[in-house]
Amino acid sequence: MNRKLQFRVSLSVLAMLLVAVVALAACGAPPAPAAPAAPQVVKETVVVPQTVVAAQTVVAAQTVVVPQTVVAQQTVVVEPTAAPNPEAVIPNVEPNAEITLWTFWLSPTFDDYIKDTIARFEKAYPGVKVNWEDHQATFQDDLKNAFAAGKAPDVINLSVSEGWVSDYATKGLLLPLDDKVSQDVKDLYFPGLWNEQIVDGKNYQFPWYQGMNVELINMKIYSDTAGLKLEDFPKTIDGLPALCKTIKDKTGTLCDIRLTTNDLLAQMVYEGGVDVISKDGKTFTFDSPEAVSWLQMYVDMVKAGTVDKSVLVTDQDRVGLDLFASGNAAFYQTGPNLIREVRANNPGLYGYLAAVPAPVGRSGVLGKGLMSLSANAATKFPNASIALAQFFTNPQSMLDFSKLVAVYPSTPKSYDDPFFAAKPIAVEDSAKPIAKDIISKYADIVPTIPHKADVNDIVLQAVQSALFNNVPAQQALSDAVKKANALLAQ
């Protein structure tokens, strides 16, 4: 009895469920979203001749006719595919990569530019997300701490001129690029800039925006008071002592010249044409006659009282720039991009500004690169990181940046734009027509220097002793070489 009853109840429940499902299907289901057009498949029966081999009984091969259904015609409806983005030149970018970019002192002035470029990048490499942070005065400290904590950014804006790329690359913290980037991509950049800061034969940076030092001239002092002409500004650094003496005698103002105290070895190489270390890298040689002659030039200027000593040995470009911007110096060597600072701080001086090419050092090399983008060696997304660094430094991004501020592209193609050919009107633009020629000749001629920071500190002390403590230049440099060689021996 019970079993029968159970069976009937089960049947009733099943029937009710079926009714409910049918009713729901009939009227309760919401209308489905419009499905994409499905591929239409037209099928027909064809005859395919096949050779069948009997499994067990080995007899002669037999040709049989087997009816089989195959797809004879297929119409596929697809979304139109966009043409490949010409700016996406790095292959195998990791899907859904999320990478971080650190820039150095670009916010807030260039927020829009950076954000727009990131948006273009994310469009060129769909699925990659970029988080951007700008770090300023504490950039180096922040970066070192981030590396120590294992949380360094994937893509880092490093200064080439300050030697940051080689500093981090030597420690194995940056990603070598040579075998990860095709020759076509390498060819986008000036060879001299691509090959800057080579560490153990490898390149670790995409050259980014470049600076070009010019001499900003305060015509009020230089021309009106001292009676000098722009075309007479020295073409080489050897002309500076005489110029400073003339300006001091005629105007009473001191020359606003700065030694690069953070990297005096590099300054010796470019300005003095000095071989700072032997070819085998085992002995320092910055006490050669060329080095002594270079240092003596500055010693003579200090003794003659023609240079501002506090600017001469400051490690902050801003100190010299401030002196110039205050209207108390005849000239100052800086990038045209910093003319905006002069205009902002002393608009009255802006109308008296002129710019001439910076004097060339005894090495004859015009200069070296300014900024670069490198990828973190420990990044989880090496290809995406390389892609971002490359994207920011590609011809279009560089051109866009150059239109915002007086910086210069590392990519020859950018200079084909009429923007660079246009006749300069503002003093900031005065270097534009000659920029390609100058930037193309930039080269890093400073050899790899072991214990670089320590040796530079030793050289700084030697230079200061000669400048301010009456120690003869030769003795100061020879003593410094001994100390530096002792470091090598450790």
Partner: protein
């Protein structure tokens, strides 16, 4: 019956102990460890034993920095004398005296970095001081104050004194206001003049504040950094003329990336300041007991 462990006090102490452990104890222990290593912050430290301390012993700049730090201690007696005089001056019921007191306190709330840069502008070759001296005919050519090694420390010390004047003055002012008026009356009856009144009443009455200011300002002087950094543009002065212990520590750690060596300097600084504070407090306490 075993005594039941009462956890309540430990729970109350826990937050403070946690903060002290994370932000004081751990860094001290880490610095002790790093002082025996070669460490550049970005890569892992390598154990080198006592090498950093040997290097420290033979390092001329370290001894120069130590000497400069002790020279810097001169700010302490100058601050004490100036602040007591100032506190006595403003401890009078005059119209607008509160505004006067507030003005002296402005440098304290201005921040040493901002004040340091302001002073740097004052002492620039084309700064206000040279401008004033030139216009008064006292000099014929601008003095390059910040490029004279002999002037680096004195200018920095003057800045420290100016910065601390208002703060320490307030401490002495509070002390003066706690001295009973009757003592001054008694001193006047005993025939003291205005100066003697303060010498025999105010100064002894301010003994606890003097001890406090002496210890605090001396420690601050031994650890001076901001003034040197801003005035010398991060160089420490020409020929290391302004390099003090903490500045040298910073330079080694963050400029030359020798964090291990900088940790050894920090240990030396810890020992020196500890010894100095003990001697300082003992001698000042002995003076109090003798009175």
């Amino acid at each position: 019956m075993p005594k039941k462990l009462n956890l309540t006090p430990y729970l109350f102490l826990a937050p403070a102990l946690l903060v002290i452990g994370v932000f004081i104890l751990y860094p001290i222990l880490a610095v002790i460890y790093y002082s025996f290593t070669e460490y550049d912050i970005v890569t892992a430290p390598v154990w080198i034993g006592l090498k950093n301390y040997q290097q420290l012993w033979n390092d001329e700049v370290f001894w120069l920095a130590l000497r400069n730090s002790f020279v810097y201690l001169l700010v302490t007696p100058i601050l004490i004398v100036l602040c007591i005089l100032l506190a006595i001056a403003v401890n009078r019921k005059l119209p607008g005296i509160n505004a006067f007191r507030a003005i002296y306190y402005v440098p304290v709330i201005s921040g040493s970095i901002a004040v340091g840069y302001a002073w740097r502008m004052l002492f620039d070759t084309n700064g206000l001081i040279n401008g004033a001296l030139l216009s008064l005919g006292l000099i014929k050519e601008s003095i390059q104050w910040l490029a004279e090694p002999a002037l680096t420390l004195p200018i920095a010390m003057a800045l420290t004194i100016w910065l601390g004047l208002g703060y320490y003055m307030m401490i002495f002012l509070a002390g003066l206001q706690n001295i009973p008026e009757e003592l001054y009356d008694a001193a006047l009856i005993d025939g003291c003049n205005g100066i003697q009144k303060h010498w025999y009443v105010s100064v002894p009455g301010l003994r606890p504040q003097i001890t406090f200011v002496a210890v605090i300002s001396a420690l601050a002087a031994l650890e001076v950094f901001n003034e040197i950094y801003t005035l010398t543009g991060g160089l420490g002065g020409i020929l290391n003329s302004g390099v003090t212990m903490v500045f040298y520590l910073w330079k080694q750690a963050f400029k030359l990336q020798h964090a291990g060596y900088a940790s050894a300097i920090a240990m030396a600084l810890l020992v020196i300041t500890l010894l100095f504070s003990i001697v300082n407090i003992r001698s000042l306490e002995r003076g109090t007991e003798q009175e």
